[in-house]
């Protein structure tokens, strides 16, 4: 018997084969050459441009847009990639409405910013289609650096080190490099295996050796890395997931949103991926939105995001929220889970409405229940086990302005390190800047 959207429980194949292709196609198709030219004409070429100031990697945005406008998208791509080697992915996943586009003066002037993200994708797609890597390595220095984690921070760090002539050994705990780009973002944001293609393109710089399925603590210890290499960069991200700490959390069907997204990203056949009829996502960030929307696209009939504060306070951008709503996701604000009901498998989640009290958020006695055969937890991730010599602060690795940790010869960046938003673009900036400091350190500057 075939399943439909109405089939109860967590089952695969709720949709027709074609629906999966349509639902998971490119959410923001690329600009063609004409669209790019029209859009690039809109840039005012601001002085000390606010978009550049808003970009964590400080891409010279007016310059690259002018380069597109004058018919040199590959020069534009170099402007982008010299600051942000993952500019292709950032063009797809950056919350631009909070960063460059949010500060565009045309947003102020007419409520419609220059489409910087789409233009950045136009430029980076153009140069990547050339099938050759645009950066050259400096003369070999004879130094080798260990980078732990092949996510955005680790990749950016490794590339910049390789450019400076160092050798890099990149240690990745998972089967594939890419980190959250490969495992942690919605599929429709980076279609056609873009994350893997981008890593392969980045690695063309040379001098980077990848060791996969290698986890710090399990397959080696920090002290050995420090002993074996000239420097170490930690960019392993956040491997733990915050628990709801609720009765019934162990019931079948209650799982981390990150696990669901990773499974979906790696699925060969989306029709074989089971999804609930009634799905509840708890949390208010990008991960919550990515999980909720993809649940809908897999055929879940009812999907709700429940967030404990008001919508305006959701970490997910307004654009992301609109995307969820447009895909039929219901957003319930000011409610927190209090119990998970079910017999073996989850059947319902019970919530209490919240209010702002004198001591912060407090629960009211107004409660409601949502039917659920699947619950995705998206209330934040945590750092995995850390070596004792690495000092932590607020649950993350403490670094100084140059990315140095408390341990000599060890740098850190990305989501595992304190400071900055947990964004791909921030991780790239931190990885790149740590690489520059490692380079200075190694070369005795």
């Amino acid at each position: 018997m075939t399943n439909s959207q109405f089939t109860p429980g967590v089952v695969p194949g709720r949709l027709s084969h074609d629906s999966y292709c349509t639902n998971f196609s490119d959410v923001a198709p690329p600009l063609d050459a004409h669209q790019a030219r029209v859009e690039s004409d809109r840039c005012y070429f601001c002085h000390d441009a606010p978009c550049t100031e808003a970009c964590p990697t400080s891409i010279d945005i007016p310059l690259f847009i002018r380069q597109i406008a004058t018919g040199t998208p590959e020069a534009a791509a170099l402007t982008i990639l010299s600051q942000n080697i993952l500019g292709g992915m950032c063009a797809r996943v950056c919350p631009t409405e909070n960063l460059c586009e949010g500060s565009c003066v045309r947003q102020t002037a007419e409520g419609k910013p220059v489409e910087i993200g789409a233009l950045q994708r136009h430029a980076t797609d153009t140069i990547m289609a050339r099938q050759s890597h645009p950066f050259l390595r400096a003369a070999a220095t004879g130094r080798t650096v260990a980078v732990v984690g092949a996510g955005p921070a680790g990749l950016a760090c490794a590339h910049r080190l390789a450019m400076h002539g160092h050798d890099v050994v990149l240690h990745e705990a998972r089967a594939k490099p890419g980190g959250l780009n490969e495992y942690g973002i919605a599929s429709y944001k980076a279609v056609d295996g873009f994350a893997a293609r981008e890593v392969a393109w980045l690695m063309q710089i040379g001098g980077i050796r990848l060791i996969d399925d290698w986890q710090l603590g399990r397959d080696g210890v920090l002290a050995d890395l420090v002993g074996d290499y000239d420097a170490v960069f930690l960019g392993m991200g956040l491997s733990g997931v915050n628990a709801l700490r609720l009765e019934g959390e162990d019931k079948r069907g209650v799982e981390p949103a990150t696990g669901f997204i990773a499974e979906l990203r790696q699925a060969r056949d989306l029709a074989a991926l089971p999804i609930g009829r009634d799905v509840v996502v708890i949390g208010g960030g990008m991960t919550a939105v990515d999980a909720a929307v993809q649940a809908r696209l897999l055929g879940a009939l009812n999907v709700s995001i429940v967030y404990r504060r008001a919508r305006a306070e959701m970490p997910a951008s307004a654009h992301e929220q609109e995307h969820a709503l447009a895909n039929g996701v219901r957003i319930i604000e000011n409610a927190a889970p209090v119990a998970i009901h079910g017999n073996g498998a989850v059947r319902e989640v019970e919530f209490a409405y919240t209010r702002r009290g004198a001591l912060g958020l407090e629960l009211t006695d107004q409660t409601f229940r949502l039917p659920a055969d699947q619950v995705f937890k998206a209330i934040g991730q945590t750092l995995g086990p850390m070596p004792a010599e690495i000092a932590l602060e607020s649950g993350k690795i403490r670094t100084d302005a140059l990315g140095r940790t408390s341990a000599a010869g060890v740098w850190a960046g990305g989501d595992c390190a304190l400071g900055g938003d947990d964004l791909t673009v921030t991780a790239v900036a931190q990885g790149r800047d740590a690489a520059e400091d490692i380079h200075n350190f190694l070369m005795g500057a």
């Binding site: 030219r37 029209v38 004409d41 809109r42 005012y44 070429f45 601001c46 002085h47 000390d48 441009a49 606010p50 003066v105 045309r106 102020t108 002037a109």
Partner: protein
């Protein structure tokens, strides 16, 4: 709605908007469509002498300068005068004029520089019932190589001679179309007047190369790997045309000579500007070639709306109204003092005023926290560049009243004084 009826040297049209002699007016089909669309008049594309028709290139005839979003800012052409037989043109002119008696129909002419050629063509034009002739002394490409077009227009004596022939052999109103490819447009205008011209029209196209193909290393438009200079027109030439119109309108030797204004007229506003500088009618080509004949509807409604707001009941109220305000630099008031003022509420903080002033002008704009750009009155010379580059028009010039201290000079703003009496001018006349 204001009355736009125009009487230009006795040629009447329901509005002052004429299509210039150019590709859009080459044949009956187009001209009928133009009249139906509302054009007040048409100058028929230039006719040549009887004989084998002119030939044109069979590759591209136009080059272009694009603004943002491929907006046509300037157009260049290497098309010659009509390449259709004279008899066909004459027959069509007669047919159109018969059906549209209320519209102006002027025939542009370009024949070899001998009296018989002109005498012959004029008699044939008179038979068509057309309202007048325009002498094409302007085209800078192709025909000029054969001693016609701008080759005549660049020699005032030739202009005078040919104009005199035309006035001798025809009673039709005669407009002399001037080329801008000269150093002082007043000289050919004076020659036309001496020859008896009823009016001048200007400008014809400007000699130009609009672009170079950087793969073929060849000017565009490219004809089998070679290019040539062509005639430039469109919005980009309007400032040049306005100045030439104004020079003729205010020159003592030509003051009062009727002018048909041509050069980049794209909207009613452009037309009104030409008229304010003395044009009794305007001629349009590039706007029609870019957008089609319908653009005249906006010109008609816009000019009418403007005249209503100003209380003008006839186009004569507008024509020449700005001419007395055109003067020489030496008579400008050197004590007139203004300062740029940025409307912070309207500013979008792009910083272009700052970049322009800091890098290329007088370092008269400062940046305060929050990307707040503020004019330093003690440095501002009121050059206007900040206003010119502001994308949202949030900067204005504020006049300092007489007696106020100019923070830049530390001296009070004085009353009118110009260069002719300025102490730094070695030629200044002693105050008496």
């Amino acid at each position: 709605m204001a009355n736009l009826a125009t009487d230009f040297i006795g040629i009447k049209s329901p509005n002052p908007f004429w299509l210039a002699s150019a590709p859009p007016t080459d044949k009956e089909y187009n001209v009928r469509r133009a009249y139906e669309a509302g054009w007040g008049g048409v100058v028929w594309k230039t006719l040549g002498a009887e004989g084998p028709p002119i030939v044109n290139v069979n590759g591209p005839r136009y080059g272009v300068i694009h603004g943002p979003d491929r907006r046509v800012m300037g157009l260049n052409n290497i098309e010659l005068i009509t390449d259709r037989p004279l008899e066909v043109n004459l027959r069509e002119i007669k047919s159109v004029k018969r059906d549209y008696p209320d519209r102006a129909l002027v025939i542009s002419l370009m024949v070899p520089c001998d009296e018989e050629s002109w005498k012959d063509i004029l008699h044939r034009i008179e038979d068509t019932g057309a309202d007048g002739v325009e002498l094409n002394f302007g085209c800078p490409h192709g025909m000029a190589e054969r001693g016609m077009g701008s080759a005549v227009g660049q020699v005032p004596e030739y202009i005078e001679m040919v104009t005199r022939w035309v006035k001798t052999h025809s009673r039709m109103p005669c407009i002399v179309k001037l080329t801008p490819n000269i150093t002082d447009v007043r000289k050919p205008a004076e020659a036309a007047k001496r020859g008896g011209a009823d009016a001048v029209s200007l400008i014809n196209t400007i000699n130009s190369i609009t672009s170079v193909n950087l793969d073929a290393f060849c000017p565009e438009p490219m004809i089998d790997g070679m290019g040539t200079h062509g005639g430039y027109c469109g919005p980009a030439v309007k400032p040049i045309a306005l100045n030439m119109v104004a020079e003729i309108a205010r020159s003592p030797a030509t003051r009062g000579l009727p002018i048909s204004g041509i050069g980049g007229v794209t909207t009613w506003r452009d037309a009104a500007e030409f008229m304010a500088l003395g044009a009794g009618s305007v001629q349009v080509c590039t706007a029609a070639m870019t957008y089609g004949f319908k653009v005249v509807q906006e010109m008609i409604s816009g000019l009418s709306d403007y005249m209503d707001h100003k209380g003008f009941t006839s186009v004569a109220d507008l024509v020449g109204r700005a001419v007395p305000k055109v003067t020489d630099w030496q008579y400008l008031n050197l004590n007139y003092t203004t300062k740029a003022v940025i409307d912070q509420g309207a500013c979008i903080k792009c910083g272009r005023c700052f970049a322009a002033c800091e890098d290329t002008s007088h370092q008269a704009i400062g940046v305060e926290p929050g990307r707040t750009y503020v004019v330093k009155d003690e440095e501002c010379v009121a050059c206007n560049l900040c206003i010119d580059v502001c994308p949202v028009d949030c900067i204005t010039m504020k006049e300092l009243p007489q007696g106020d201290i100019d923070p830049r000079t530390g001296r009070p703003v004085a009353s009118y004084a110009n260069w002719t009496t300025h102490p730094n001018n070695p030629m200044s006349r002693a105050a008496e």
